[in-house]
Symmetry: C2
Subunit: 218 residues, 2 copies
């Protein structure tokens, strides 16, 4: 017995099929080359039916960004569970300092890379179209990026306070951490010869340098 709710769910399912079709096309042709007809065709509906779900392609694009936001929020939540920042003393050996810093950077990078691998199409769209040609998408992506940077900044602050470590310019660090991992993530998606393991380790090294540079020795 179908109800109004069932109908809504059916419509939602078709919308999601459109988005999934769009993601697969994006992976090959890029967002800018999407056409309403190709998306509808891939999703198995008539071109005109597209309008029952979105007024135009960009409206679907913005919805895709919203779904990327969900994935990225989950990424940060998952990373937060694993990150720690053991107390660093002024006379600690460099190796010990690095180890403490890597308690942040390794979970951060590894969680991120794993999220990239599981959601490569969505993440590619997100980080690629940040500077793409659709203003609507750019704006949506910048908003989400700002929020992510904010959350990461808070988390870094919390980690510092927890064990009385000190870092300089925390919001700048958060921004740069995201820049570094997204650059590495994009490289991994786009280069078919990329080895995830190598890229992950190189990413961690880069993040380590950044945090070491920000560490204030009292």
């Amino acid at each position: 017995m179908a109800s109004r709710n069932d109908l809504k769910k059916q419509k939602e399912k078709t919308s999601q099929a459109l988005i999934q079709a769009a993601l697969e096309l994006c992976a090959n042709e890029g967002y800018a080359s999407l056409s309403l007809r190709s998306v509808a065709r891939k999703a198995g509906i008539a071109p005109t039916s597209f309008y029952r779900h979105f007024r135009e392609i960009d409206e679907m694009g913005v919805e895709m960004v919203a779904q990327a936001k969900v994935v990225l929020d989950a990424f940060l939540a998952q990373a937060q569970k694993k990150m720690s920042f053991p107390a660093i003393k002024n006379n600690d050996a460099p190796a010990k300092t690095v180890k403490s810093i890597e308690s942040i950077t390794r979970p951060f990078a590894e969680t991120f890379i794993s999220v990239i691998e599981k959601n490569s199409q969505l993440m590619h769209l997100f980080f690629q179209e940040k500077t793409g040609s659709s203003e609507a998408l750019r704006d949506a992506i910048f908003d989400v990026t700002d929020q992510l940077t904010g959350v990461l900044t808070e988390e870094l602050n919390r980690l510092c306070q927890e064990n009385k470590n000190n870092l300089n310019d925390i919001s700048l660090i958060a921004e740069t951490m995201l820049t570094i991992v997204s650059a590495c993530g994009l490289e991994m998606i786009v280069r078919e010869d990329a080895k995830p393991k190598t890229i992950t380790e190189r990413t961690i090294l880069k993040l380590n340098l950044l945090l070491q540079g920000a560490l204030i020795h009292e």
Copy 2:
């Protein structure tokens, strides 16, 4: 009296007009939305004449990347003239260390931002299409990026040796420096509300953190 040379120059002029037209269209619509006809129209020639210069759009794209390489090589050459790395002693005050590091990062970032401002369309193309949908362009851009990273790595090595400073992971640093400035550059191009001065200073701070982290105190 026209010569064979004059003819070649005339052809070259038209090719450059096509590229210029393509860059202007890219700035609005993005590389993926370029069409042979729109480029020819903007350049003021018949659509069919396009084929006298390039076999397809991507062949022109690759030529555009080659021109970006010229600009970026010039950028590094210019930055090299201005960068220095005064000797850092183990017991130097942090402020003095930062000042020495900033003798690298400030000329580097300021030169880069100035190049971005003067060649925004070419640089946008270069850094945007690094992960774009055309494999030909991606490959060309990755080649150039690798070369740039190599040159910057050598230069950092030279700067270190000059005054007996020590940096860890120099090639990783070179790579990350380029990641950071290109991310900032793209943001500057794409955000109409961006203030070049603010972005430059933030970029320098980010680069400083990175180099501080790589500095080996003996």
